[in-house]
Assembly symmetry: C2
Homo-oligomer: 327 residues x 2
């Protein structure tokens, strides 16, 4: 059994708790929280919440610690700190800061003979892997990543900060014509506006100036100004009824040419359609927990990413079974 600790109990932490149940070689030891542990209602009988201050008491009771905090401020601090005492895995997703985060975690992991993994999930994660594989197979080509249809938390939050807005949900949606153009193999250059559009469902406060809110959304720099954005004003009840989920997904497509005269075209496409973004991310992390535990057992220390992990290490099956059943 792989003994797991969950560090942080938001959407991702609950997703991890649920995913562990689907893997019979794993066991949840406890959930660490900054809140008062007594206030946390877990979903796993017999497992309790523990305050983060007491985490070191679990040094020898946990094989892999899964960090479920945010990438902005939690993980850059928590992953290296916990790696001093535990094998760790996180879903750090600030793409531009990955090299820096990797270096920090790697040095602690190596100094303390621990195995760590960062940036595990679907993007970064499975999408990255597909960009890597497809790029190596078709060196003369171009790849494209589309996100959605799915909820962007950051964009929803940005709308909520506008005066007069009570609540909001924003969907990122790939533009169908752009997907078709990419799949045709013509390697189009696509602008930000051509690739994705944005759809917003907004609950306004009573008496708020809807026209102003819509204008502020559509003209918001970085978030909306470069996109075709649609704004729908709906009631709080409608938002709750129709937009309560956290779906997401997307497409990684690479097209490329082969042949002595580059006469043949190929399309490699990987896509995800997810009802729950945090539960799917959690499911990817939990599969990679198996790899972390196995690398640690072999004495393979330091920080890893999905690029470093032999795929067989994710599976509970033996190499023989995998070759016989899946190859």
């Amino acid at each position: 059994m792989i003994r797991i600790g969950i560090y942080g109990y938001g959407n991702l932490g609950r997703g991890i708790e649920s995913a562990i149940r689907q893997n019979s070689d794993m066991e949840l030891v406890c959930v660490f929280t900054r809140r008062d542990p007594a206030t946390l209602k877990l979903n796993t009988p017999g497992v309790s919440a523990v305050h983060v201050d007491d985490v070191l008491e679990y040094k020898d009771k946990i094989d892999v610690m899964i960090l479920c905090g945010g990438s902005a401020t939690d993980l850059p601090r928590q992953t290296p700190a916990l790696c001093e005492h535990f094998c760790v895995i996180d879903s750090f997703d600030t793409h531009a800061k990955i090299p820096e985060h990797f270096a920090a975690v790697d040095s602690v992991a190596k100094a303390n003979n621990k195995t760590a993994m960062i940036s595990v999930g679907w993007d970064p994660g499975m999408f990255s892997l597909n960009r890597l594989y497809a790029g190596c197979i078709l060196p003369d080509g171009k790849d494209y990543t589309f996100w959605g249809k799915g909820v962007s938390q950051g964009h929803s939050d940005a709308i909520r900060r506008i005066e007069g807005v009570m609540d909001a949900k924003q969907y990122t949606i790939p533009v169908e014509e752009a997907l078709s153009a990419v799949r045709s193999g013509t390697e189009p250059e696509l602008s930000t506006r051509e690739k994705h559009k944005r759809e917003c469902f907004v609950v306004a406060k009573a008496g708020a100036d809807l026209e102003r809110i819509e204008k502020e959304i559509k003209e918001m720099p970085n978030y909306f100004a470069d996109y075709d954005t649609t704004v729908h004003f709906i009631s709080a009840e409608e938002l709750k009824r129709d937009h309560d989920g956290i779906p997401h997904g997307g497409f990684v497509i690479r097209t490329g040419k082969t042949g002595f005269n580059k006469e043949n075209s190929h399309v490699i496409e990987y896509s995800l359609k997810l009802d729950s973004n945090p539960e799917f991310t959690a499911s990817v992390i939990v599969a990679y927990v198996r790899a972390v535990a196995r690398l640690y057992d072999k004495g393979d220390y330091g920080c890893k990413t999905v690029f470093d992990i032999p795929p067989a290490l994710l599976s509970p099956k033996s190499a023989e079974e995998l070759r016989a059943e899946l190859l």
Copy 2:
């Protein structure tokens, strides 16, 4: 530079020759053939064909030997035999015999301190990898593989053996309704007939009984009897003009549930649309040649499959570059 030998110069061998040009860290040393080398016209200036009898003269001049023979009779003999002297890679694709082939190659590779890879391509190969990854991420789910639209050499050959048939080309085509049903996440049980249909383009000899030929095709056990099959009689000119390529492709789809009450559904889909089946297979093999050469340099001997290879080993880029650019 990775020095490569091509063993066998059919469609796959030519695909390898072409793929090597797209990878600046690789160099073709020579092509080995059972035919009279003087009769072979290669496409790479300065590279010559050599008779297979002289292969051992190249023991120290080749880093990885790529075997391009057939799975039925060539590879089961050639891969273990050549592995005594070379690091080897093949695209052995008789799924049921992979464990046996693996064992044979593995024991020779280990006894001679060589690194070998078998069953590299897209199925087995990239499709297998996607079955593995998706199955580990969504343990409560079901996966489906569809092939096509593409040319099946075996089925085309079977038609050509019918009396009165001059030439023929057979396409395997996934049934659109089956793909939709799978993507819906309902995990349907699909019969052979429900998953794929077959379309045949047949050139009949002058005066042949077309009705009998069509009947023989449609009733042929294993090959056609279990499928909805369409037969078109066309002229030799039309066959040459419209059906000269070797396109293929397909879909690996896994759907599965997550959540404490399995309330959320997810769809993972990987698809290929290939103008040239042998050139794409060759492109996958050439990417994995890089992994074979690197494992050999590290002293990691024995037989491997795509399941064993850390993805980063396929890339000419450094681990730092990959993390910064693709993760």
